[in-house]
């Protein structure tokens, strides 16, 4: 499955809920004091098309508070990620007003939906219609910029995430391996671990064709590669080939059997069961990976070690947006503002939704949550690094980004399955991708 963003949710405590309600009431109070009226759209109903993932689940636990605060009724249509996109495609293609607010991944469909005119430009809203406590500038700049296409602000970030390296400190110690500092170190560590303990999978990451560009992109960028150069596909550049070779060979030589079908679900199961020594996968999987507590004491988390081109992590996030065809844009904006407010994001953070605001990571409650486990601090530190230095480029920066991922995945899988060498695979991918670029 192509889900890039999954996370097991933590139960929100009753105290947390009460605090949130009080906090939002306070927000409302101070906003009202400055002329912003949370009740301005009382009585309206908006429809929210949600991806049934932990981010949406965490928000929707508080939906009654939103209605209490604004008087706006929220109608929720919740689907799995793929089905949500099918529904969106049907609704937006028909220019229907059935959906007011939806979740979107700017790194994937942002350019495409923006070109189709399916997003409402949020720029006027963030300028003219904000509560004084909202702090738009507090949202991670990189994520806000990643949701801006041709000057149009298409969405507001809900979370921050990216692929990170989870590795087993106990196995590294047992096999006398130093923590990897470069991609080449990962290869040598995997080789040593394979010899030292044959029952452990040395390295695992995504192999499923449509899902793997999420993890592969980090390899490409760390190797100094870029997807496009001078308007042409650039996978056959020396850096591109090095990245393809490094990623595919790691999976081929040190990955689990059947890795070609691996996505987040298999990676998490394998690592949690103690069967892989290194797992390069989504930061969102942290709560799932740690479920049961078996991996809490023997895991370390770091960004992908640098390659020849340095360290350029992949950093993306889900965003909340308003349909261009909504008849309730103002009421929808209130929902966006509420869901991405500092107070609400502090609540979500306590459920393991990595906050897209720097201020939230300084929130006392969140800090206390992090301090409960040293590994949570490592996780947050890694995410801070991703926020500072990451790029949201997953796949080609073209309107047909989703289709471009297909050819990237195909090239990696061909090498991984031994169906082609790196030259043949990258050449076929470049040809297909040049055709795709030309079609724009």
């Amino acid at each position: 499955m192509q889900r890039e963003e999954t996370m097991a949710s933590r139960k929100l405590t009753l105290v947390g809920g009460i605090v949130a309600a009080l906090a939002l009431s306070t927000t409302a109070g101070s906003a009202l004091a400055q002329g912003f009226d949370w009740k301005a759209h009382k009585g309206e109903t908006i429809t929210f098309l949600a991806n049934n993932n932990p981010v949406a689940s965490a928000i929707l636990k508080h939906q009654d508070e939103f209605t209490a605060l604004t008087g706006i009724k929220l109608k929720v249509d919740s689907y799995q990620e793929q089905q949500m996109r099918q529904r969106l495609l049907t609704v937006l293609n028909a220019r229907s007003d059935e959906v007011d607010v939806f979740m979107t991944l700017p790194s994937r469909e942002g350019r495409q939906y923006a070109a189709a005119g399916w997003y409402t430009d949020l720029t006027p809203f963030v300028k003219d219609s904000v509560s004084s406590d909202y702090d738009f500038d507090g949202l991670g700049k990189a994520l806000v910029d990643a949701a801006r296409f041709d000057g149009i602000l298409t969405g507001l970030p809900l979370n921050i995430e990216g692929p990170v390296l989870y590795y087993r400190t106990d196995i590294f110690k047992k096999c006398n391996v130093e923590p990897p500092k470069t991609i080449a170190d990962i290869q040598s560590a995997a080789q040593t671990i394979k010899k030292c303990d044959s029952s452990i999978t040395p390295f695992a990451s995504r192999g499923l064709k449509p899902a793997l560009p999420y993890t592969f992109s980090n390899f490409l960028h760390n190797m100094g590669g870029e997807y496009m150069k001078d308007g042409k596909s650039n996978l056959c550049s020396p850096e591109g080939k090095a990245a393809l070779q490094a990623y595919a060979n790691l999976l081929k030589d040190y990955g689990p059997p059947g890795v070609v079908n691996y996505s987040f679900y298999q990676l998490t199961s394998l690592y949690r069961a103690g069967r892989s020594a290194m797992s390069f996968q989504s930061s969102n999987e942290f709560p799932s990976v740690m479920e049961g507590g078996a991996r809490l004491k023997d895991t370390a988390i770091v960004p992908l070690p640098k390659g020849d081109g340095g360290s350029v992590p992949t950093t993306i996030g889900w965003a909340l947006t308003i349909s261009a065809f909504s008849d309730h844009k103002d009421a929808a904006w209130y929902f966006l503002q509420w869901a991405t407010s500092p107070k609400m994001q502090a609540e979500l953070a306590l459920e393991g939704i990595a906050p897209p605001r720097q201020s939230v990571s300084q929130d006392p409650q969140y800090k206390a949550w992090l301090e409960e486990q040293p590994l949570r601090q490592q996780w947050q530190k890694t995410l801070d690094e991703l926020a500072k230095t990451g790029t949201s480029e997953v796949g080609f920066p073209i309107v047909e980004n989703p289709e471009s991922r297909e050819y990237i995945g195909q090239a990696v899988d061909q090498i991984l399955l031994g169906e082609a060498d790196v030259d043949t695979a990258c050449k076929a991918a470049d040809e297909a991708l040049d055709g795709l670029i030309a079609r724009q």
Binding site: P257, V260, E400, E403, E406, Q410, E419
Partner: protein, 286 residues
């Protein structure tokens, strides 16, 4: 009070019109879309047979045709074989307890998504039960759905596990309607059990088997849910059937025109196979 034919027709017309519209509109609309090109920004333009000519030169399309038929034929043969065997077993063992019969037919009652998830876990090459059993028996483990060579046979086996009981129920109905006089005559002539099976039962069952073939063919040529849950057409393109290819082209890559052309083509294939099998049904009728 007598009701005229005209009155009856008027009463039934809305329902008939509604049904026709529900069938005709989607078909006509898909046909219309298949002559359009969709840009990724959502605009459309008429391109005549452009989508169909593109199909001729599209490697993925031909790959899809081959995989669709490979999966179809393999699954159909396996399901007819095991379905008939299961039906004969249930027919002979008349005293089979009810719960055993229910157990036999239970797989096809499972939603395909549940079946898909279940087999995904069982066949996981690292953590699944299937490889555990194989290695416990001293056999080499398999990559199952992750192997380009084995993915289609594995999918066919899963589908066979799920749908053979359905075929068995159809065949069982056929067995129960066979004329006893033929068997009595064969017994008097001293025909052995095997001879009765090969010379009487199976030939007489042919019309029933062809009916089962028609019913399974429609589903098998449109094979979708299990692949969607387990492999999404992979590894590489080894299980990319026409249906999955069309779905991904339309809903993931936004090319609704080309996807419609692919689906129209698939519909023609399904219709063609169904008509051919229908003809066969007339030939084997007795």
């Amino acid at each position: 009070m007598q009701t005229s034919k005209g009155q009856l027709g008027a009463l039934g017309a809305p329902a008939v019109l509604f049904t026709v519209a529900m069938i005709a509109f989607p078909v006509a609309y898909t046909l219309y879309l298949s002559f359009e090109a969709f840009s990724s920004t959502g605009t459309t333009r008429f391109i005549g047979a452009g989508n169909y000519t593109r199909m001729v030169n599209d490697e993925s399309f031909w790959n899809g045709v081959v995989i669709t038929f490979y999966l179809y034929i393999l699954s159909l043969v396996l399901q007819l074989f095991f379905g008939t065997a299961l039906a004969l077993l249930m027919f002979r063992a008349k005293r089979l307890p009810g719960f055993v019969r229910s157990l036999f037919i239970s797989p096809f009652m499972l939603p395909p998504v549940v079946a898909g998830m279940m087999w995904l876990v069982i066949l996981d090459p690292s953590l699944g039960a299937a490889n555990y059993i194989l290695t416990s028996l001293g056999l080499p483990p398999s990559e199952w759905l992750a192997s380009p060579q084995w993915v289609v046979p594995t999918l066919a086996l899963i589908d066979t596990w799920q749908w053979s009981p359905y075929v068995a129920l159809i065949v069982l109905g056929g067995l129960q309607s066979l004329p006893p006089s033929v068997y009595e005559a064969a017994e008097i002539d001293g025909a052995s059990g095997w001879k009765r099976l090969w010379r009487i039962t199976l030939p007489l069952l042919l019309p029933t088997l062809v009916t089962a073939m028609v019913l399974r063919s429609v589903d098998l040529l449109r094979f979708f849910d299990l692949i969607y849950i387990t492999t999404q057409g992979g590894p590489a393109n080894a299980s990319l059937t026409l249906n999955i290819y069309g779905f991904r082209t339309g809903f993931e890559f936004f090319q609704l025109g080309y996807a419609s052309a692919l689906m129209v083509t698939l519909s023609v294939i399904v219709l063609g196979v169904t008509l051919a099998l229908n003809r066969l049904r007339h030939i084997v009728a007795w």
